[in-house]
């Protein structure tokens, strides 16, 4: 059985699930594309307002330092790697133990990311940098906040999958849900790389 859809394929180890996963994963990719359209709109809004929407308030280079975003980036990149390890455990191992371990490590890294981001937002609000300040800050919180909400949703999803691993075991349905969660998680990583580059690196260099 050949590997077809993007992401990890179960063709060699679980052909029956692979057969069903084909259309399910394809459908999820279409969802991800529409989600990326949302992010594209937020990026475009951010690009416009970071030039023309400052309203006399702070500019990008005023509000960013790279320390915290860099640590967040590392947390998220490593969490993508650990989810990759979870996917390999899903594909090649019959036992749940290693899969659970990698999922929990991924959860810890993702939760660390969200905690740091909330901390950043609270600090900004303390400095008076709230969404009400300018169109620029509105679009900053909309873009980065939407990504943060996605990661939080992914964390809840992770918890539910861990519960389902205990309730149902490694059934076909649970496997396919984990495969979809995996590509969701990796997509959020890609979006974050864009945010880090475009919002933070580009912001401080201006």
């Amino acid at each position: 059985m050949s590997s077809r859809h993007p992401g990890i394929n179960l063709g060699d180890t679980d052909p029956a699930t692979h057969q069903v996963a084909e259309s399910v994963v394809f459908g999820f990719w279409i969802f991800l594309m529409s989600d990326l359209v949302l992010f594209a709109l937020l990026f475009a809004t951010y690009a416009a307002t970071s030039q023309h929407g400052l309203a006399g308030g702070p500019t990008p280079s005023d509000i960013f330092d790279l320390k915290s975003p860099f640590i967040e980036t590392m947390l998220l990149l490593v969490s993508s790697f650990t989810f990759g390890m979870a996917s390999l455990a899903l594909k090649y191992r019959q036992d749940r133990g290693r899969l659970l371990l990698w999922l929990l490590v991924t959860f810890a890294l993702g939760a660390g990311f969200v905690a740091m981001e909330i901390n950043d937002f609270v600090r900004m609000a303390g400095d008076g940098q709230t969404p009400q300040q300018s169109a620029y800050l509105s679009s900053f919180f909309a873009l980065v906040g939407t990504h943060g909400l996605h990661v939080s949703a992914g964390l809840i999803w992770l918890v539910i999958m861990v519960i389902q691993l205990f309730v149902f075991g490694l059934t076909q349905q649970v496997k396919m849900r984990l495969m979809r969660l995996a590509i969701f998680w990796h997509m959020l990583d890609v979006v974050w790389v864009c945010i880090f580059t475009f919002v933070y690196l580009f912001g401080v260099s201006q």
Binding site: I156, I160, Q164, V167, F168, T171, Q173, R177
Partner: protein
């Protein structure tokens, strides 16, 4: 619009280009009636009024595509008249036509034709009376979204528009009355045969309301209008051989979708009016329903072939006892959902 000449040119050309596929669609709709015997039932009346009114709105759209004209009527009631001219007949009248047409298929009884016609005339006259004056007002310079006017020349037109709005309100009221009357009198308008309008497509070949699995056996399609072809070849309502029935797998009924729908309405309402406790409650309800659903692994049901066969054969026996209704009498009480062959 008050933009640069280049932008005006782009918008003007784009607006004109919309007219091309739209014009093609209008011809498509007209051609579906060519050489047909058109019956002026409520459903058809709404379809025809939709086509006529939609074309008028389309032509004022072409006027708006001209940048010098658009520059003058931009943000005026002319624009308001134009897009209502597109949306009300273009969306609403089409949906009304579909509502009258498919209602008996979904619920098993016909809607009151009398109240349907009353609502049609109220809607149509009301629409023209309400929105045609807005074209004139727009050309006279009346801006949209204005709370109060001080120009005496606007007054007669505004009064005419108000009367039109009142007629539209009567149209809405008669639709509510129609629904009430139709539900009250449903025993005299039932269409168990499932084909009250001599329909051409396959949904009319099953009972009304249809069984939850839609088709007892998968129908064989030989022509574009498959059910008409079957009726012409004497193959409609045929008893399938016993071995043709198979077990049918369909999803089980679930309360999850209605919960998500109701909670979404509450969420939209709460966000609009800044009711934060309801926002949080409905958001949590939506996702709790989704998550709870993900813990249900047994979501399908199997309807055994024997049950399908029994239900289908019983319906076919019922159909064979029904009187055939000629098209001229399709809105009368004698229409039990079995259409007479149309030569």
């Amino acid at each position: 619009m008050g933009q640069t000449p280049n932008l005006n040119a782009a918008f003007g050309i784009a607006t004109m280009l919309i007219g091309v596929p739209t014009g093609v669609k209008v011809y498509d709709w007209l051609l579906t009636m060519v050489r047909g015997r058109v019956r002026l039932t409520t459903s058809t009346l709404f379809s025809l009024m939709f086509m006529i009114t939609f074309v008028i709105g389309g032509m004022t759209g072409v006027i708006l595509a001209n940048p010098p004209v658009d520059f003058n009527v931009h943000n005026s009631l002319f624009l308001v008249a134009h897009f209502h001219n597109m949306l009300i007949p273009g969306t609403l009248f089409g949906m009304f036509a579909a509502y009258y047409y498919w209602f008996p298929k979904v619920f098993g009884f016909r809607l009151s034709e009398r109240w349907g016609r009353i609502s049609f005339w109220c809607w149509s006259f009301g629409f023209y009376l309400a929105f045609m004056p807005l074209y004139a007002l727009g050309l006279m310079g009346a801006a949209r979204r204005t709370q109060e006017w001080f120009e005496p020349a606007f007054e007669p037109w505004l009064i005419a528009a108000l009367l039109g709005a009142g007629l539209v309100l009567l149209g809405v009221a008669s639709m509510i009355v129609q629904l009430w009357v139709s539900i009250r009198d449903r025993d005299s308008t039932r269409v168990p045969g499932g084909d009250p309008w001599d329909g051409r497509t396959l949904e009319w070949s099953v009972s009304a309301p249809p069984p939850e699995y839609n088709f007892a056996v998968v129908p064989k399609v030989n022509d574009r209008d498959a059910f008409t072809w079957m009726k012409q070849h004497g193959l409609a309502y045929q008893m399938p051989a016993p071995q043709e029935y198979e077990d049918i797998h369909i999803p089980k009924n679930s309360v999850v979708a209605p919960i998500i729908g109701a909670a979404s309405v509450a969420l939209g309402f709460a966000l609009t009016w800044h009711i934060w406790w309801l926002t949080i409650a409905s958001f949590v309800a939506i996702w709790a329903a989704v998550i709870a659903r993900s813990f249900c692994s047994d979501t399908e049901q199997r309807i055994p072939a024997s049950q399908v066969r029994e239900e289908h054969e019983q319906w076919l026996r019922e159909v064979s006892a029904l009187p055939k209704t000629p098209r001229e009498q399709e809105t009368t009480a004698g229409n039990l959902g079995l259409a007479e062959e149309f030569a």
